[in-house]
């Protein structure tokens, strides 16, 4: 029997791949791995196709037993990795004999770890993706102990030797380049000017839907009234009535009714946002 048995599920472990973009018009969030660079690296290390499904862990890792010999790689938030109790490399391909237990430990820094297996996780896809979508409930359930995860056949590409040291460290300060619009005119000029100087922190109520901020100076509405719901993009910075920005991450709703003051472009800034722990300072800078 092939596959991986979940021994310890961790705080919040989900299956993720590149998500299901292209279905927003049907009300389907894009979903997908939050730290796209760490996700891509995990698959590259194992010679997997770039869209292979992996596990995304949150802070405290996961433990898995190999039902057949395979190769795994752990990237994202740096953490101790053990195979049957013996320390092994993080950010590198690691052989897992049949029956061996892979222990992915608590993150030393950062938040989200990526555990890839050679061949990719073979849970049934929904609308072309194996990602768990925590907003709408599409895709596989959040991992629980005792579940067996099927593993796909290894592809033709060999296990690579690339290392994870190209990955940026988890941010001590999260700097988010922001392009103003489409609804910046809903806020007073003074509070917009203050946005660039404001010292926010990552709120503990952040999740895969959005990175919430706290502690900074609130944006002030220049106009009353409600905005009819409109389409939302990845990285949109939505401002609810409390005036504290929320940066939309992969499981964001496809439409929303709070004004979007600006957009953080996909790529390194949102990857860093995926690794920013609650309490991390957040600063918005003008996107060039």
């Amino acid at each position: 029997m092939t596959g991986l048995l979940v021994v310890r599920a961790g705080a919040l472990t989900t299956v993720q791949d590149r998500g299901r973009p292209g279905y927003a018009h049907l009300g389907v969030p894009r979903s997908g791995a939050l730290d796209t660079a760490a996700y891509a690296l995990a698959n590259r290390l194992l010679g997997n196709p770039p869209d292979a499904a992996v596990l995304e862990t949150t802070l405290d890792g996961v433990s898995l037993r190999a039902l057949a010999a395979t190769v795994v790689a752990v990237t994202g938030a740096p953490c101790p990795v053990r195979v049957s109790g013996r320390p092994v490399a993080w950010g590198a391909p690691v052989g897992l004999p049949a029956g061996a237990e892979l222990e992915v430990g608590r993150a030393e820094s950062g938040l989200r770890g990526y555990v890839a297996v050679r061949g990719g996780l073979a849970v049934p896809p929904v609308l072309g993706s194996r990602s768990t979508d925590l907003l709408s409930g599409l895709g596989p359930a959040v991992l629980t102990a005792g579940t067996t995860l099927a593993v796909g056949p290894a592809g033709p590409d060999p296990v690579a030797g690339a290392d994870a040291y190209g990955l940026p460290a988890a941010p001590s300060e999260l700097v988010l380049p922001l392009r103003l619009g489409p609804r910046a005119d809903w806020f007073t000029g003074a509070s917009l000017a203050g946005l660039w100087r404001s010292a926010f922190r990552v709120s503990p109520s952040s999740n895969r839907i959005g990175l919430r901020t706290e502690g900074g100076s609130a944006l002030v509405r220049a106009r009353a009234g409600e905005l009819p719901s409109e389409g939302m993009v990845l990285g949109a910075v939505q401002v609810p009535p409390d005036g504290l920005p929320v940066v939309f991450l992969a499981d964001h709703p496809v439409t929303g009714g709070y004004p979007v003051v600006g957009v953080v472009g996909p790529g390194p800034a949102l990857d860093a946002a995926a690794q920013a722990r609650p309490g991390t300072p957040v600063r918005f800078v003008r996107a060039r």
Binding site: Y23, A24, G27, G231, M232, V233
Partner: protein
């Protein structure tokens, strides 16, 4: 149609803002026509909403916005878009309240609803939840003051200018007037959503078995 307002959204998206749901429907239909004809350029997501259409995953949002602003968009014709007929039992817990708000007897509600051709303006809230326009203004009803914690799947519901059918059980504050066995959302099916934007919808009273 007045020239729409176009707003750049980050580096890869454009929001087109219009004055009415009818204008949104007309522009959405025009965008689909041009995309099907290969004349729109790459767009990953085309997301209509209440007064806007979002084009996400485009190369040059500002240039695309200028192009769209120059279009002559014809008004939507009545028969444009596929027609879906849904059999409904008018047995919702808010049927009497909606009839009262409409100033009619509860028994008249099915006939009034059946006479309306709805159109899926946009989806949101949950996969496959379509916001249906077509209710004349005198039939608009407010949301319930207290939302229900669980609305059964298949509930036909009204709120404001919209009608909708809950694709699955979820919390909700709309007024429930009926129920259907139609499967609104099935990701294994093509199309997954029975109510995709642009689809025309008729509700007919279910024949008693």
């Amino acid at each position: 149609m007045r020239t729409p307002r176009t707003l750049v959204v980050g580096a890869q998206a454009l929001l087109v803002e219009l004055d009415s749901a009818e204008e949104v429907a007309a522009l959405h239909a025009e965008l689909l026509r041009r995309r099907d004809a290969g004349a729109l350029g790459p767009v990953r997501d085309l997301v209509p909403a209440a007064r806007t259409v979002l084009l996400d995953g485009v190369r040059d949002p500002a240039a695309l916005g200028a192009r769209i602003a120059s279009w002559e968009v014809p008004p939507l014709t009545r028969r444009e878009g596929p027609l879906v007929t849904v059999a409904v039992r008018f047995d919702g817990p808010d049927l009497a309240e909606v009839a009262r708000l409409w100033g009619v007897a509860a028994g008249e509600v099915p006939g009034i609803v059946a006479a309306i051709e709805f159109r899926v303006a946009f989806c949101g809230f949950a996969p496959g939840f379509g916001y249906l326009t077509g209710l004349p203004e005198r039939l608009h009803v407010p949301r319930r003051e207290t939302p229900r914690t669980a609305v059964p799947a298949g509930s036909l519901a009204l709120a404001g200018e919209y009608a909708g059918v809950y694709p699955r059980s979820s919390p909700g504050g709309w007024q429930l007037i009926g129920s259907t066995d139609a499967v609104l959302w099935d990701p294994e099916r093509e199309p997954a959503a029975l109510f995709a934007p642009g689809v025309r919808v008729r509700f007919v009273q279910e024949e008693r078995a």
